[in-house]
Amino acid sequence: MSKEIEQGHVSEQAAITPGQSGTPSPLVAALQRANPEWVGEVVEAFGEVTVIVPREKIVELCSYLKTAPEFEFNFLADICGADRGPEEEPRFEVNYHLFSTRKHHRLRLKVLLNDDDTHVESVTGVWRTANWHERETFDLMGVQFDGHPDLRRILLPDDWEGHALRKDFPLRGYEPYSLT
């Protein structure tokens, strides 16, 4: 039985690896068929597929991906923010790493945010696990997730100033932090 499962996985793997000579992977093709508005830019590298999504479409797209039979991305593996640097525009990236517990394929969605408007809608309504992921991204990167039920700092103290993983935040502080 385990052999069959294994072979099933191998063929699934082969199906999602990016095609040769620039043909898009089946995932992206299916996504474009469903609604071309959802797909901004597509990057396929290192055997992984990244889809850049317009900011206002993220919740709509995630709800679709969670249930649509050809995707079944029912497991949100990770959300993480990245700072490209204060001089870049758009400055922030929010990466959503999706995984399917049945089909075992992965997909990365990326939302780009400008420095002056770091708001994006929360996906906690789609996957409840997004709660702590989004709190962590808010705490360390300063991305505001609209509609999050409890958007507080999670790792740093509540009265901490600034967002530690931004590139313009110093590695070493110059003032001692007091807990009292």
Binding site: H9, A77, A82, D83, F99, T101, R128, L140, A164, L171
Partner: protein, 403 residues
């Protein structure tokens, strides 16, 4: 704070009609580190549980951005300090994916062997402390006796017991010492009896059963929705193991079962881990029989440090050694997410490179972090004493949660 009660409390007589908020931790012995839980109690019932974390936050993800790729490996040791080789593996696999390195067969087999030994060691700490939390003290000593043998093996290979940093980008720090295979074989032969011994200590124990069965229920749909992974997810009846789903380091070549239990409670998660130790043992035996002589470092002179002997006798090796240590090596631009099945669940590494010797962003998806976020869902409606059992069954490590 919410004051509405879950439906199961409606029938309970509450003469004083009061609720109490207490703080469990950060120095509570059963919180396995510095976890604080804010519990709203009605008598002995938990109405609301709010985990408060961050006491051990050391800014590791920030630190990665200021260290060269090879220097980041030692930071990963300190995250999940019960499973450091798993952290090493996730980190180096992500970097190797960016670099496009081919890892020699022997290095891959040794990685599998060491990771499975480490998984057993991690599960032994879980078993010992979980039993201790529930009130069985003896188990702890038996577990730590076996774990000590594994730590000695890891020390023999890498020089470190808790912080091995044994896996390097492109292979291993060095080959196994002579006589190592014999020692692992000795351990393997002993360990199969040790697992049976653990079963005799706990599995048939009525008190242990009453403390764990039906406690901390989470259904399969909820477990997936809350992002549980590893033994916690398999305890809810979801057959998912990254070693099978997206094989890495040659796991597709090994014959092992993925233990799944359907009960969705603390007991099911206990049984999954107990069975998993046997499977890890099985993989370790297979890996040992697959060991063939060969190189343990990839053929990439600009990334992998040369042998000591070559460095002293060859000019180009000396130059490469100097450049790697002094300036680091350039990693191509790009971003990857690599997930492995660590002892606690899906350990994912997001690594982004803008070129150059230092990463632009390294993010760890810690399995303990996400498993803990589901604690309120499991604990609300249970007794205070059961919260201790539920935390134990999640097998959290605060070093990884707070990073």
């Amino acid at each position: 704070m919410s004051t509405t009660l879950p439906p199961q409390f409606e029938v309970i007589d509450r003469p004083l009609d009061t609720q109490m908020t207490i703080s469990m931790g950060p120095q509570h012995p059963s919180t396995h580190g510095v976890l604080r839980l804010e519990l709203v109690l009605d008598g002995e019932m938990v109405v609301k549980a709010t985990p408060d974390i961050g006491y051990l936050h050391t800014g590791m993800e920030k630190l990665f951005e200021y260290k060269k790729y090879q220097q980041g490996i030692v930071i990963t040791d300190r995250m999940d300090y019960l499973n450091p080789l798993g952290n090493n593996l996730a980190y180096v696999l992500a970097a190797e994916k960016l670099l496009g390195l081919e890892i020699p067969e022997r290095a891959q087999t040794i990685r599998v062997l060491m990771c499975e030994l480490q998984r057993i060691a991690s599960h032994l700490v879980w078993l010992g402390t979980h039993a201790l939390d529930i009130g069985a003290m003896t188990v702890f000593f038996y577990c730590f006796r076996e774990r000590e043998k594994i730590l000695n093996l890891i020390e023999a290979a890498s020089g470190g017991r808790l912080t091995p940093s044994y896996f390097r980008i492109g292979g291993l720090m060095m080959d196994l010492p002579s006589g190592f295979e014999r020692r692992v074989k000795q351990f393997n032969d002993d360990f199969i009896h040790a697992v049976d011994e653990f079963h005799t200590l706990l599995t048939g124990n009525k008190i242990f059963q009453r403390r764990t069965q039906g406690i901390g229920y989470i259904s399969a749909e909820d477990a997936i929705d809350w992002g549980l992974s590893g033994p916690c997810l398999r305890g809810s009846g979801v057959d998912l193991d990254i070693r099978r789903a997206n094989p890495y380091t040659g796991y597709e070549k090994y014959d092992f079962e993925v233990p799944v239990e359907q009960d969705c409670d603390v007991w099911a998660r206990y049984m999954v881990r107990m069975r998993e130790m046997k499977e890890s043992h099985k993989i370790a035996v297979q890996a040992l029989s697959r060991l063939r002589p060969g190189p343990v470092k990839a053929d990439a002179p600009k990334v992998v440090l040369p042998d000591r002997e070559a460095m002293k006798t060859h000019m180009d090796a000396l130059i490469h050694h100097f450049l790697i240590v002094a300036e680091g090596f350039d990693v191509p631009e790009g971003e990857v997410y690599h997930a492995i099945e660590a002892s606690k669940g899906e350990l994912g590494v997001y690594m982004k490179s803008n070129g150059g010797p230092k990463p632009a962003r390294v993010h760890f998806r810690g399995p303990s972090f996400i498993n803990l976020s589901a604690l309120p869902h499991m604990a609300e409606g249970e007794m205070v004493a059961d919260v201790v059992a539920i935390i134990g069954s999640l097998d959290i490590v605060l070093g990884e949660i707070d990073r």
